[in-house]
Each structure stands twice: as structure tokens, then as C-alpha cells.
């Protein structure tokens, strides 16, 4: 049997592409739900908007086993050091999605108690707007992050120092995979 007969059973590619594929197809979030956005994050992981299709339904409780921290909710002054501690305990490569306006900029609460933007504490890769963002918005943010991982933009972080933060709203990229979301009321 010649080697040419086995061509459909081999997958070849550049090492970086294979590593990026593995990394983006099984991003495990650390459970860091704080407030109302956490409920929408739970809804995104549940039946109707399923995160398991991206390999993400396992919310790892230990930050050592997690790749992604979705900061879902408002970060208060007392919680800020805890947030940083959990982020530091995660292993590289790690990413952060700032879910909701409270995590992105302080949101509705511009006062003494809320950190005005979680990017003052941890480097953020994708911001998802909304109060709370519906699970579809969160999934769009996650897919934006997957695209960043696929094209390798995030690998540049360590060499250049400052992270490149991408605003999910301004990205012209739309996913080329079928995104089955349900709009409107159930039948």
C-alpha cells in the first residue's frame, strides 16, 4: 500500500495553526460571575443558548484549570483585589472578556463603590456591551475572541507589552460558522 492511499487520514498544517485551533476550540471559562450578568452567563451555558457547542460549558472552579475569565458583573472596591488574585492564579495563555457595561466602564454606577472599568485591574481582550448583554451578545464576544486566537493577534501580547483590546461592537468580522440563535418569542 502506497503512502498516497493514506492521504485522507493525515492532517497537516503549521504548528502554530494547530496550537491555535486547539486553544480556541476548548477555552474553559473560570466561574467569575458577580451580579446580573452572571445570570445571563448561566443562561448562555444552559439549554437554549448552548456554550457546549464551543467546548465551553465546563466552568472550571479552580482558576488553575481555566483559560478564560469572563468578568460578569460589577466589580466593587472590595472585590478588586480578589479579581486580581484569581487572574494571577490562571495559567498562561489566558484571556479576559469583560461582560456587560459595569465591567467594561463602570456602567450605570459612576460612584465611590464600583471600579470604573475592570481593565484598570486586568488586561481585557474583548468587551461585550449590554446591561446585561443577552446570551447572543456574549456568544458574539466569545466568537470574536476565538477569531483573535485563530489569527494569532493575541500571541503578540507578551512581546509588545500592552494587550491589544478589541471592541466587539466595532469589529467588522462576522463568524463564518452557522450561529444558531433564536430571536424573538418561542413557537
Amino acid at each position: 500500500m502506497a503512502l498516497e492511499d493514506l492521504q485522507h487520514n493525515f492532517l497537516t498544517g503549521q504548528l502554530e495553526d494547530l496550537v491555535r485551533w486547539a486553544r480556541r476550540a476548548s477555552v474553559w471559562p473560570a466561574s467569575f460571575g458577580l451580579a446580573c450578568c452572571a445570570i445571563e452567563m448561566m443562561a448562555a451555558g444552559a439549554a437554549d443558548y448552548d456554550l457546549a457547542r464551543y467546548g465551553m460549558e465546563v466552568f472550571r472552579n479552580s482558576p488553575r484549570q481555566a483559560d478564560l475569565m469572563i468578568v460578569a458583573g460589577r466589580v466593587s472596591q472590595k472585590m478588586a483585589p480578589v479579581l486580581r488574585q484569581v487572574y494571577d492564579q490562571m495559567m498562561e495563555p489566558k484571556w479576559v472578556i469583560s461582560m456587560g457595561v459595569c465591567a467594561s466602564t463602570g456602567g450605570l454606577f459612576n460612584n465611590y463603590a464600583i471600579v470604573q472599568g475592570v481593565d484598570q485591574i486586568v488586561p481585557v481582550d474583548v468587551y461585550a456591551p449590554g446591561c446585561p448583554p443577552s446570551p447572543e451578545t456574549l456568544m458574539h464576544a466569545i466568537l470574536t475572541l476565538h477569531e483573535q486566537i485563530r489569527t494569532g493577534e493575541l500571541m503578540k501580547r507578551r512581546t509588545s507589552g500592552r494587550p491589544t483590546a478589541v471592541d466587539s461592537r466595532q469589529s467588522p468580522w462576522t463568524p463564518d460558522v452557522p450561529v444558531a440563535v433564536r430571536m424573538g418569542t418561542p413557537k
Binding site: Q77, A113, G117, D119
Partner: protein
């Protein structure tokens, strides 16, 4: 309007209250006695205890004879058996300090700590009067009217700094 209970201290001023059967205005000395009298009269639950800073609204409506001060402690009591609600408003002073209701109603423990944390009202006899909502090193009492409410830079040593 319901009458005061029979064991209430004499001379407590009363008035009408919205969504309450009576609204009482004891002095700081009459405060715990009055609450004890209500408790003995069938008010089993202390529903709410909060404090108000009247720095910017000193001319609020009070019955004549009440010596108004900057801070006020407001207690709402509930009687399940009689289905009545009572509001007690005690003038706590400009440097607010009142007696704690912990011995009568243990459920006021967390509510008094919150009033202390956010408004600086001291409660004599409270078992553990420490901050409850703000971080331990916080200075100031945020809900006071002379405490600014605007944007505050994050108070955390290891932050990379504001953008």
C-alpha cells in the same frame, strides 16, 4: 392611629406615618424603653433599621416639641399577630450615637453595622460594630451628604493605573 403600648415611657410624641399605624418620635433616652414596650405588646419583628442624614433638609416636617438633629435613626416594627406596623424615628444627634437594639431584636445586628458603616452612627452595646459593606481600610462614611459621590480612582496597590 393606634395608641402607644401601656408600658411605654411617658412623654413620647407621636404622629401619623405613611404605611404605618403610628409614627413615634422618642428622645435618645426613651428609645430602647419604647422599643421594649412595643416588643412586649406583640411586635415580634424588627423589620428595618436605617439612618438618615438630614444635613441638606433640616426643615423636615416633625411634630412640635421634637428637638431636631442632623442624624435620625428610623426603625420599623411589625406585629404579625395584630398586622400592624409602627415607625420609630429617634433624633440621633449631630455626632450620632444611640443604644443598640441587639438585646431586644438580634436581627438588628447587621442593619446597625450597615448604618455605622455608611453613615457613621454609633450603637452602644452592639457586639461587633465594624464595617460590613466597605473594605476595612476605607475612610469616611459614604452615604453622608458631605461625602462626594463621584468617580474615585481604584484604591488598590497593584493596579497598573488608570488609562
Amino acid at each position: 392611629m393606634i395608641p402607644l403600648p401601656p408600658s411605654a415611657p411617658p412623654g413620647v410624641l407621636t404622629g401619623e406615618g405613611l404605611c404605618a399605624h403610628v409614627s413615634c418620635y422618642p428622645t435618645r433616652e426613651q428609645y430602647v424603653e419604647l422599643v421594649r414596650a412595643f416588643k412586649d405588646d406583640g411586635f415580634e419583628m424588627c423589620v428595618d433599621l436605617c439612618a438618615v442624614d438630614y444635613l441638606e433638609h433640616p426643615d423636615r416636617a416633625l411634630p412640635p416639641g421634637v428637638a431636631r438633629t442632623r442624624f435620625e435613626v428610623v426603625v420599623n416594627l411589625l406585629s404579625l399577630s395584630k398586622r400592624q406596623r409602627v415607625r420609630i424615628r429617634v433624633q440621633a444627634g449631630d455626632e450620632p450615637e444611640v443604644d443598640s437594639l441587639f438585646e431586644l431584636y438580634p436581627g438588628t445586628e447587621a442593619m446597625e453595622r450597615e448604618a455605622f458603616d455608611l453613615l457613621g452612627v454609633l450603637f452602644r452595646g452592639h457586639p461587633d460594630l465594624t464595617r460590613i459593606l466597605m473594605p476595612e481600610e476605607w475612610e469616611g462614611h459614604p452615604l453622608r451628604k458631605d461625602y462626594g459621590s463621584g468617580r474615585v480612582p481604584v484604591q488598590f496597590k497593584e493596579a497598573p493605573g488608570p488609562r
